[in-house]
Subunit: 361 residues, 3 copies
């Protein structure tokens, strides 16, 4: 059982050689970034999340009446430039495993809440609210039966608190200010400690539960994976990926804190079973569509379904997590994106919630 | 089998003693209500339902540039004041059982369609369109095999009609003006009469089906519960709650017609099985997230699932109903809210679709 | 096994005689179309898709303050006029079976991408982006094991490409410009060819995958139905309907490219099993609610569910397809609509995502 949650060994040149692209020529870089920049500007990205049709309508409108319409070749060149730059190199990569220290039997993790200048798309930065300086925050990964301590230091200009979304914890560790604890004030450190229950394996999350509509969408979110004591108790897989969906002002429509072409591709060898852990930390649904082969959905919110079912488009609502296994039978580079098409493409090319699954021999 | 659908024996003092809150001090009441009032003003509430990101963005923007940003302590105080005032006393409580008279074997219910000044949050009133002066309308509860008559009197300034959403009724009792009946004009009384079919047990609704995008979201909605002839035909439970979700101009984001902190807490003794009947009468999805312990989903639209499944975040779309059972194993006060976080919290604290489940010894 | 996917033998007079409508009198035609026209104006339809509450609020607001409120009778007359005109005759009908030619064992289909003046509601036209001049494009229907060739000619002012959504095809036939193929430039013809895999039976789609948020919502979409080699491998039915959901600028909220009252009714004889194939090509969820009798959901994205389940409101997200069987046990004319009520009704009457199921002896 190999695990693969982090950066891939994929670079741009390799992607372009794998993807069967014909005729990728010299693209006017001034053209593409400019066009894309307009779409990706943080403020307009944030607005567009709730103005899809208006944005689409305005786009069409603007194109045909108010500004010079790009020619067919110009539009295609912008699309091609986006694909050609994938996977684009950007600063910062979230969701990497968080190291812990052992204090006796207790696994001790440390989270630092801090502002970070986050590059969500090439050359596009925003002041993110983060755990440990990355979006998503680092992955916390433990096993059923573990005792876990998490020390949270708040270096933000607001109070905060951490909710362990999906974990069954003692009430006073649940992370809701004024219901289960006082808020963690700026410059304070607060310690959570709880056992990981048997039966609580699966895909969970941690995120702010204070001024959360703001703090979470600004980046205060991460995955919390609980492995089963007995691996045989859950469906087998060869490698795994976690996809955190978000649609906030930080990065707009994003997969793991990045907007296409800065998203990370998923890789598999033919015949492998790839576990995908979905979690939605945004404010909107995102029906994720994988081209080329179906997914078998095995768990909801960490709990195994009584019977898995197959689909190619999995609708994930805010707060939900799903585990799905892809049997990587089909060779090639397969588009993989939110099927609310305005979260994935504009007239200027793909953006936002788009990546690919690459299946190789 | 105890049933509990109505007001609880919970008051504010008792809630604060159960919730493990530290340091609830004197809150500037002028501060909190004012801040909250801005968020809850009916017109802005209505707008915000479709402008989540814009509203959030605007809020952040406004805070940092156009108006004086609250200090950390001021923001926390507003959050604390909201929690401290829960459950807030407001006028009017919807969803209480509707009495009936027997005419032979027929159970005769009476609904009066009328305008009501409805307090959806403390001190916040709106002119609601109601059944019997409450939002939600009173609960109609019958049993498979019953014969039901419902006399509907229209005291509204518009025509109306009642659709029995989920019930299998004769076509001419279905409540759709100009397809199955003439509209019920102002000052008219209209009588529906139909048998409750075997196999139609479960969680259903009644609501207006005339100018419905307006009349329903303004409050013309209620629960219609059909109990099985044989209780053993459905999963056992110890007590039950109904949660009607709405996102209309009346009350904005609301649970049973009230916005937090005017919502009602759910209570359970440890070890009880709590049936939650969800129904969405709004225009948006609402993924309801229960902290602390999972839900087992047993029925969709009243129909038992072939196999129940577990989750902690249940996505409910407009028109859908779900039945879920919570095994109340975990002591404490557990947040319970829509996980579209902008439906549950602003910079000024929790509001809207928020309540708690309190599990006591 | 009868199949019925196309226009029905229903006309307006027949509908009004079946629907038990009382008192359909002379409606001021100037009144109804004017009122409806305001709601259906393409630009406002497009805007309203993302401004439901605002639109609703504005409507209520406008009605009571800025323009003269219609009287009760005027409002009812507008509602009645809409129903009375159903099913309204409009130019063009999409989703009809596409003829093919045999080249040896290969079934050869032809799609022409072209602009069309499309009547989405009576008297309401918009310049649609279409396959073969209709919205939805013609239905492609094949059988597991078939070899299929599809020749696509582009007569649009933009490049395009066709994605076979749900079909397991060789990577280079997947239809994603710059990942699996070059875009199809204006005036070019591009040929796709692929086998229909065993196990890929069910309800699928084809649509543009270039500038897709624009091209798809403007009409470049169609159903792709794969019949099983062995009909006994899937649930039996007597007749079938396909419902393509869309919410784009073309036609606004539409069923099969038409807005009520221009939508097509579904017909059944009592006792028949009616298969409904849902597919969402829009940008929003649409929870479809059938009055009068439940649906049994049998397949998701073409894949049979391990166990079917029953419901009366089926939530369909963009990119998803569902197959559901209605046991037509209940006589009469049953409303059938999206339960986001603002997609189905305004103060001026029903519009958009509304049709009926008519069950006759």
């Amino acid at each position: 059982m190999k695990r693969h949650t982090g950066p891939t060994d994929m670079n741009r040149r390799r992607f372009m050689s794998i993807a069967g692209v014909v005729g990728v020529g010299a693209i006017g870089t001034a053209l593409a970034p400019d066009g894309i920049r307009i779409e990706r500007e943080p403020s307009s990205a944030a607005q567009s999340t709730e103005h899809e049709h208006e944005a689409d309508g305005a786009l069409a409108q603007t194109t045909s009446t108010e500004q010079e319409e790009p020619t067919v070749d110009e539009m295609d060149a912008m699309h091609e430039a986006g694909i050609a730059s994938f996977p684009a190199v950007t600063e910062g990569l979230g969701g990497q495993p968080l190291e812990y220290e052992l204090d006796g039997d207790v696994k001790v993790f440390r989270l630092s809440c801090e502002l970070t200048n986050w590059e969500f798309a090439p050359g596009e930065f925003v002041e993110a609210w983060t755990y440990n300086g990355v979006v998503p925050g680092p992955e916390i990964r433990v096993t059923e039966g573990d005792m876990v301590r998490i020390e949270v230091t708040n270096d933000l200009p607001q109070s905060t608190a951490v909710h362990w979304h999906g974990l069954v914890v003692p009430n006073d560790q649940d992370g809701v200010p004024f219901i289960t604890q006082p808020p963690i004030k700026p410059r304070q450190t607060y310690t959570y400690e709880f056992p990981i229950r048997d039966g609580n394996a699966g895909t969970h999350m941690y995120h702010s539960h204070h001024n959360s509509a703001f703090q979470v969408t600004m980046g205060m979110l991460g995955s919390f994976i609980v492995e089963p004591k007995d691996p045989a108790s859950r469906p087998a897989f060869d490698r795994e990926y976690t996809i955190v969906l978000n649609d906030g002002p930080i990065g707009g429509y994003s997969l793991n804190g990045k907007s296409f072409p800065a998203t990370q591709p998923l890789m598999a060898k033919r015949g492998e079973k790839v576990l995908i852990r979905y979690m939605n930390e945004g404010l909107m649904i995102h029906p994720m569509h994988l081209h080329g082969m179906p997914m078998t959905v095995t768990a909801a919110d960490g709990y195994l379904l009584p019977q898995p079912y197959m689909c190619d488009t999995l609708n994930i609502a805010p707060g939900q997590r799903f585990e799905a296994i892809v049997d990587a039978t089909e060779l090639g580079t397969w588009a993989f994106h939110c099927h609310i098409l305005s979260h994935a493409e504009t007239e200027h090319g793909m953006f936002g919630m788009v990546t690919v699954l690459i299946v190789e021999e």
